[in-house]
Symmetry: C2
Subunit: 495 residues, 2 copies
Amino acid sequence: MTVHQQQGQRPGDTPPEELNRLIGAAAEAAPVLVGSHPSDRASWLELVADRLDAEADNLVPLAAQETHLGVDRLQAELKRTTFQLRLFAQILGDGSFLQATIDHADPAWPMGPRPDLRRMLRPIGPVAVYGASNFPFAFSVAGGDTASALAAGCPVLLKANPSHPELSAATGVYVSEALAEAGAPDGIFAVVMGFETGAALVRDARIRAASFTGSLRGGRALFDLAVSRPDPIPFYGELGSVNPAFVTPDAGAQRADEVAAGFVGSMSLGNGQFCTKPGLLFVPAGSGLEDRVAALAGAGPAAPMLSEHIRSGYSQALEQLAERPGVRVIAGEVDPEGDPAPTILATTVSDLLADSEALTQECFGPAALVVSYTSEEELLAAAQVFEGQLTATIQSSGPEPITSALLDVLTERVGRVVWNGWPTGVSVSYAQHHGGPYPATTSVQTTSVGTAAIDRFLRPVTYQDAPDEVLPPALQEDNPWHLPRRVDGVLQPPE
Amino acid sequence: MTVHQQQGQRPGDTPPEELNRLIGAAAEAAPVLVGSHPSDRASWLELVADRLDAEADNLVPLAAQETHLGVDRLQAELKRTTFQLRLFAQILGDGSFLQATIDHADPAWPMGPRPDLRRMLRPIGPVAVYGASNFPFAFSVAGGDTASALAAGCPVLLKANPSHPELSAATGVYVSEALAEAGAPDGIFAVVMGFETGAALVRDARIRAASFTGSLRGGRALFDLAVSRPDPIPFYGELGSVNPAFVTPDAGAQRADEVAAGFVGSMSLGNGQFCTKPGLLFVPAGSGLEDRVAALAGAGPAAPMLSEHIRSGYSQALEQLAERPGVRVIAGEVDPEGDPAPTILATTVSDLLADSEALTQECFGPAALVVSYTSEEELLAAAQVFEGQLTATIQSSGPEPITSALLDVLTERVGRVVWNGWPTGVSVSYAQHHGGPYPATTSVQTTSVGTAAIDRFLRPVTYQDAPDEVLPPALQEDNPWHLPRRVDGVLQPPE
């Protein structure tokens, strides 16, 4: 049991001495993990996935109670979470994540004789993972960061999100038990709690990297701690995004009903509590899209937010947005008595350009801003006001000249461009990228979703002229692990 | 001409308005580079290499005059530099640096229907490169950072090292002319000068990444600026390293002459002005290695340092080291009147363990510390005092039990482990890794030497359900660039 919890009480903050003990155990587990076989780690992840699936009837009601999310959504999210664990198990089997690279000694190498050089990636060391509030399974205790760090061979100290402590504690117990039963080393995983605990974690010299999903303010504060250490460490923060969507003139004319329905479905999914929620929709003036969106959203149900903290933050952000010059409320209420329902505001590109910082702030909840444009020049100008985003969406109908210009502007700013779809529902796969320039993330070159997420927790080491008997198996001449490797510059498929 | 230079005068600091203009030009070049074909960039790099080779008779004497390095060494370094440019041209042809990854839509994907997702790497944007003092070609104006950034498709603002301004200006002119003749876009490359210029560069919002080779103090100051921006950017700093070398009992007994000669050759190469200079040599007490090293080093010639600034820094560091308790000078002089000659200090592991911070400081110049150990336990304890290092060296003779324990301790701390060789002379190749945990670098996951250096200047973007006609060629279904790609999870060789 890794959580400080008296029987019958809510889990409490991890005391400093307990935190110290847990980080010490993680640091002791780290070299054991360095020496572990990827297929062993794969079996650990699979057993964790099996255990979480088996505990669904315990976990989902607990999650529903603490997060107010629906049971269907939570069941699907748990399925996604265990799929993710199994997908990382699969790429451990493939082995290309090690990026094993061998240059044989070459006396004729043009810059001068080359020694034998062999490089591979190895685990970065103990990792601090900060769980998110809005995905109590997929971005929390057993979520993608935990899965990718364990897959990489890094012990994980999981700082639980305060919005679902009971679920975090329960998930932590199942994960820890499954890892122990699977034969993983002691100290490989622990759940810790408390605000001060989170700050202490990222400053601890034994922690070698950190990942975070949450607010811009909280994420930047932890990033600042990570990079101001005597020895700065990588901090992978996913902070926030407004995910603008752009409807071209043709799409507005030809598919207005479909676009309106898709947009309202996406912005209100999970009560708007997704980092990929489309927060702005650019529509051709006169297309009728504004009215269609308002009508559909206005009929949407009210639903409780994840927490009172998030509800009050949402109300405040929405109120500020509604008070800006040129902004009108066209569906829903800005200050409802109880749970919020989908709420749509509207403005024009010229008002947006005059007040772009305020009108492009993230409003975490079921609100969005519909922005009318009157020319393609306006549309392109609007696309250029955005800072870094996780996603941008283009709704187009066939080959319009505007779309390639728009695509160029958007790929400059975002991690993922969605074409005639919607950004919520982030598939976990090989080609997924869930990231983007700051402030979407603090690390523009990495993803927190998909198999490439493992790269965050690995670092290279090169062996020069080392004899086979001291090399790790991944670099031994006869390739005992049957890995794909790059040999003398040429990529060789696995044998 | 990118350098602010009146006829007959030394190049001066770049005025702020000129810097602003050059960064603006780089920002305008960036989207042109995003759209450039890798094979075009390859031809630009090749033409730059050809031009530099053709100008060797102009460049080498200038370099010799400003750096006091020998002509043979400088000719070899220029060869290495142009080889490096051509090697990046070659990997642009291979195309795997794009990491093109395609997941076709899959309605049966276990976590739920998967859209079509296609990811590739794209240029990160304009890059600031800070040239080093000690490699006036290979880590300066046309060095590895410039080569890898241009290969990635990023415009480069090159902050010249103040120790060789004339060479930097001349190299900059040749590079700019060659790029222009090759048809590269305006704004792709410029040399700038001045301390304030360097600070302004890394803070400029248009600069998207920075790379640096130099001192811990200078590098950390620029790193701190980079990460405290409103929008932090990646900062790839290579700061310093003492590169400890460990002689096992058997190697000390069997190969003492060879080890002593190799060590003195490596620590005195380039007058000790390499970031990979082995600064400490751990030897078995009673092996006679201390005397052998002293004798060889004591016979080494004095030579001028790169600059008066570096000479005075070296004298100061050496003096501080020599004054520590238990440290003896066994060859050379601590405070020579003129140019320094190889200087060897000696101590024991027990004195080192008692004063490890002071005795493991980098002393940039031809000095090294020989440390005697009396047991394998002492040797392992000594290996554990080191912070992050670029390299560590093991001199072993066959399968001794101590070596695998030593290797485990060292790979935890370093970027490259050298076996029965010496760390200077960093080959540029596919498997090279020139990096390591802080303070060796500010970015433990990247290298500044070898083909993997290109990764620093790329970031991913994913296209979801985008039709073929708007996708970049690298991601189009029929693979018009014949790239190696990962398709539905399976690595596919180029067609």
